[in-house]
Symmetry: C2
Subunit: 185 residues, 2 copies
């Protein structure tokens, strides 16, 4: 979760803020060619990952909130499903292989235009290690979680929501029908 979530600067030298014809919202529009630059909310994907009832946290090696603890989470890439993104982030930040167990929560962090999809997951094996964006990775029993050193409010929320439904099956929303990517035909 980095600073690129902010509404950005003009995408090029000739762009100005105005409401395009037929639209109702101000956009960056190129004063030369009329090209409309849409900026969009960002999708963050992450997981509450458990092993033996202990929860995996990563201590951030990067700003913002460097040295604070977070869940394995980050920006969804283009052409990636949220589930694949959540697994990739766990691999990148904690060098681990996770098995997803349903969508735990959908959070909106509107001041930075983020929608966060948080999954419930477990470690496939007890192997994990810090990736380049983590200083340290560790399994915590609930009572040992460093509550005062968590990186973001949504890390608190996700942990508490995880706790609220621990041991129960999640009735997550539907997803793509098997084998369907949404490509027409």
């Amino acid at each position: 979760m980095s600073e690129r979530s902010k509404t950005g600067p003009p995408p090029g030298p000739h762009f100005e803020r105005r409401v395009p014809e037929g639209d109702s919202v101000e956009r960056y529009v190129c004063g030369r060619c009329g090209h409309i630059h849409y900026s969009n909310p960002k999708i963050v994907v992450g997981s509450v990952v458990v092993y033996d009832r202990n929860i995996l946290l990563c201590r951030r090696a990067i700003e913002p909130r460097k040295t604070y603890w977070t869940l394995p989470a980050g920006f969804l890439e283009e052409h990636e499903t949220p589930e694949d993104g959540a697994r990739r982030e766990a691999r990148e930040e904690a060098s681990c292989d996770i098995v997803l167990d349903g969508l735990l929560a959908v959070y909106s962090v509107t001041h930075i235009s983020q929608v966060q999809l948080m999954y419930r997951a477990r470690l496939r094996t007890p192997d994990f290690a810090p990736g380049p964006e983590s200083l340290e990775t560790r399994l915590f029993a609930w009572d040992d979680i460093p509550w005062n050193e968590l990186a973001f409010p949504s890390v608190h929320w996700a942990l508490h929501h995880f706790r609220e439904c621990e041991g129960r099956s999640l009735l997550a929303p539907f997803t793509n029908p098997p084998g369907k990517s949404g490509r027409p035909g």
Copy 2:
């Protein structure tokens, strides 16, 4: 849902595709100043809206799939929650006021980098009318739905998923704790 969902052209004249240091994916990077332009998947928000067991569909007045039937849905705007976005799209496309009833589905359409959040909703009153992006808006009994004239695969999926849990309560994922926006402090 428009063509702006494609991976775009370079954001400015000096941008080139390369993998930034410490990254693993090709991005547009400015050859002059090193600015990295991240492009991100887009979030579509929409609803299966019912009134008296009939389903509200909108006939598209715009490309792509002009004249085909769709759900009220569109791109989430910056600084908007998905729930607010789904209500706004219903207002814009069908001039109606809807009450959301839980997150029905999360679809990935990876070839155009979309994540679609589809809610279940009902009309607050039986008032609706085409907005500027719709040619026609209409309530359909299940058996009268124009199955061969639906705009997108995910419209089919959402209708069938709606049908699968009709009359039952949805156990949707958690959302922000009451009154919490994710702003620190």
